[in-house]
Amino acid sequence: MVKGLCAAFSHRRLFKPWPPVVPSVQVKEPLKLPFLFLFILLCVLVVLSALNLLSTWGMYESGAHRFGLGYALSRLPRSAFEVMIPSVVLSLLLAGMRMARRPFSRLLGLLICLVVSYAALVNGMIWLRALAQKSRPAPAAAVQYFRPAGFTPVGAVLLNPRTVKDDSLGGALLVDPARAGARFSVFPDAKASISDRGVSVTLMGARPVRISGKPGLARGALFAADRFTTLFLRDFGVLTADFERLLAGSLPEFFAACFALLFLCTASFVFLRASRWPLLNILLLALAARGYVLLWHVLSVDVAPVIARAVTDRLLVRMFPAAAMAVLGILLLLVDILFIPADRWKQLEES
């Protein structure tokens, strides 16, 4: 009897998988996928929105007021809007990983992912933008960039104000380390103004001086990303800005652009069946997704202006990046249909 019990609770029995309640994974998985995708999207959106919220407060608001629930609630829609596209793309990637482990029909998977992600992206961006416009937080002030008695780089020089209040700096010491002679100069008062390009400070005294440049972001330096992450965030920023512009300008164009982007991402599931090595396939898919964002940046920032000079059709210029994405997606779909065996996942599982 003891031997029987031991045999029953041996590793083999303990780690033997339970028999499936639903016999066929082929039926169950497609039904679960949309809900699973939405769940993943929700989790990713919450995490990325929170990160965006924290970094935005830290960089632009922390000098002006404390972090509180009121600020978080007012800023959250905007943060969620800014991370909506990366959230959807990342959720597609994670759903793809799930499909790599529990494969089913590739076309069904593509269709489900495309429809659900499209609905989520389009609705998410429309509603979140509407909410974000209702509660826009206060703009940043100089108090954010300068700390009393601390050196803050502005371009190639450094500024050390004795007092900081809103946009006014008192008793400001200007240091120009590159100068050969006297590097220090003192100004009784200074006024700072913030723009998208950076900070410009007018130092008032016997000989007024104006300096401008990218501030060393007294607090922004805390959240400074490495150069690769900076590029990554820049590319997603361009993508979000373009989509926001399309959303503000024309809904059909926005719908088309969303579709093109998501179609390309879902068509890229072809990478999940590229080889008999699922890890490599997933990493290829991740790199491809990164590449698409970079491609959009190149098309939107570098190529689109060139096309704008060559053609007069504004619609073509606006939709050029989205069209390129759609064409690339079609190519990937054709590769999937023509060159990848339909039962590759089945082969992989059986192997």
Partner: protein, 572 residues
Amino acid sequence: MNRPLLGRISSFLFAFAAIGFGLFFAYSAVRFPVDRLLPAFQWEYALKNGFLLFVESLIPLCAAAVAVAASLAGSSAMARAAGAPPQPFSRIAGSTIVTFVLLAVAYTVLFEGVAPNVRHRIADMEYRSRLGREFLRQADKARSNGDWAARRDALGLYLAIDTTNRIVTEQKLEAEAEAAARTKPASKPAPPREPPDDVDASSLVKKAQYYYDREDWFSAHSYANRAAVIAPNRTDAPRLAAQAWEKITGAAPSRKDRQAAELYRKKVAAYAMLEKDPVAAYYSFLDLAASLPKDPDIQEYLAESKKLMTSTAFFHEEIEGMAALPGTDRILFVNRSEKDFTEAVFIGKMIEAGRQGTYLMDLEAIRYRPTGEVLWHLTAPYGKIEEMADGRREILMLSVDRDDRNVPAGPVYLSGSRPAEERNLLLIAPTTEELAVLAIDGGGAAAMGLPRLWRLRERLASFGMQREALETDIVMMAFMPFAFLALCFFSLALGWAFRARYLGRPPLLAILFIPLVPVAAALASLLSVHAHRIVLGFAVLAFGLTAALIIGAALSLVLLAIALALTAGQAT
């Protein structure tokens, strides 16, 4: 211990590390910044920068190596014997936990111990390169001015930095030859010789004058008398004889007596200056020692004045030749911030020369009121840090030449002034160790290890560094090893979950794609580190350092727990 998985992970870790370091070394050698560094530093830079890039990429490299090793572990090497029970993955991977912990320790040592020093060395190479180019520029200028000695000196200083540069060595030899050829031998004024022993009156008068000048009154009197006998019509001979006789009869003090009196007066004057102006006293005693090198009083007070002088000044020769030594570049700090004034200091270069002391170059300091009124503003070419008996530190800003009183280099007051006794001194608040961290572009916190940063954080913030940035760096440094550990476990779980379906060795095409794995791992790990930075930076700003440390610990714990749970939960 499970040798196949552990062995495979170790092999991949070694291979990825070796290839990664090799690639970073090659990249650093190829992308050598010619505009910032001298060609002589190329290989040293390649090694050090390659190492830095390698350390910065250790997380993605290790994550990729672990993921690839785990995902290929399902192939033939891991195939169990027929009939043997399958082992749970948690047991297979159990021994890797120890490996990962050891790796995290190694990562900590490299990231927080070795890398800051290497970063400092690269910054120093950049400074020495700038300096070397400045010396070459000076040498070219000297050549165009025809000043071969200056060219020789400038090239000599350059060669102290770039010792093996053959072209510059030849140029220096050429400059030395040119300088030697153009330098006329110093012609000392010949001592007046004794006139010849002629017997004519004129020669005798000259002889008499010669001995009169040397205060040999008797000889002078004798020769003058002989000249008067030979040529009675000469008036100069009797006059000289009378003067010599007057000296012999003692009507006036001798020159020696007068010299002794003069010497005494000079000694008293120099002695009087000893307390008030040791530098002037030093030069006075130096002059006296030149004329009377064996005078014991002069020797004693010369040594005394030298000793006293070192409390207010230092010899210029101490700092000469040090410019080429490694040091800290461009230091900026708030020295004092009181209600009525703020004092700021800029130091172009600081060289720590061990027991010789700490020397500074290109100083600038300012004291100003909150209203913007400048109380004083000075610049000084050189400085030396002196530790005072009460533990405070001051900069001596007056450098003097050991022999020439005409070449002192002291502070120049651009506006305002200070009392005479303070003019050449500047009390500073930071220690030498703190000064080294206050460099504008020296990497700041990045150039320090965690213990040092923790110890200095409060004081550094008072010198104008951003307290929040320092505290965020502290928290990041403290939790990076845990992030490294968590990412290793995530990679292990990911690799195992998506292991390859190859029965044997993967095909060549798949192997060719392996380099993409670190790229993807880098993307994920860098984003993960950035997310850490956002959370911890926010915690520092919103709640302070202590709370940030607690939040960081909780975050690391949660991530480690998830990673371990994922690892343990993998299928057999």
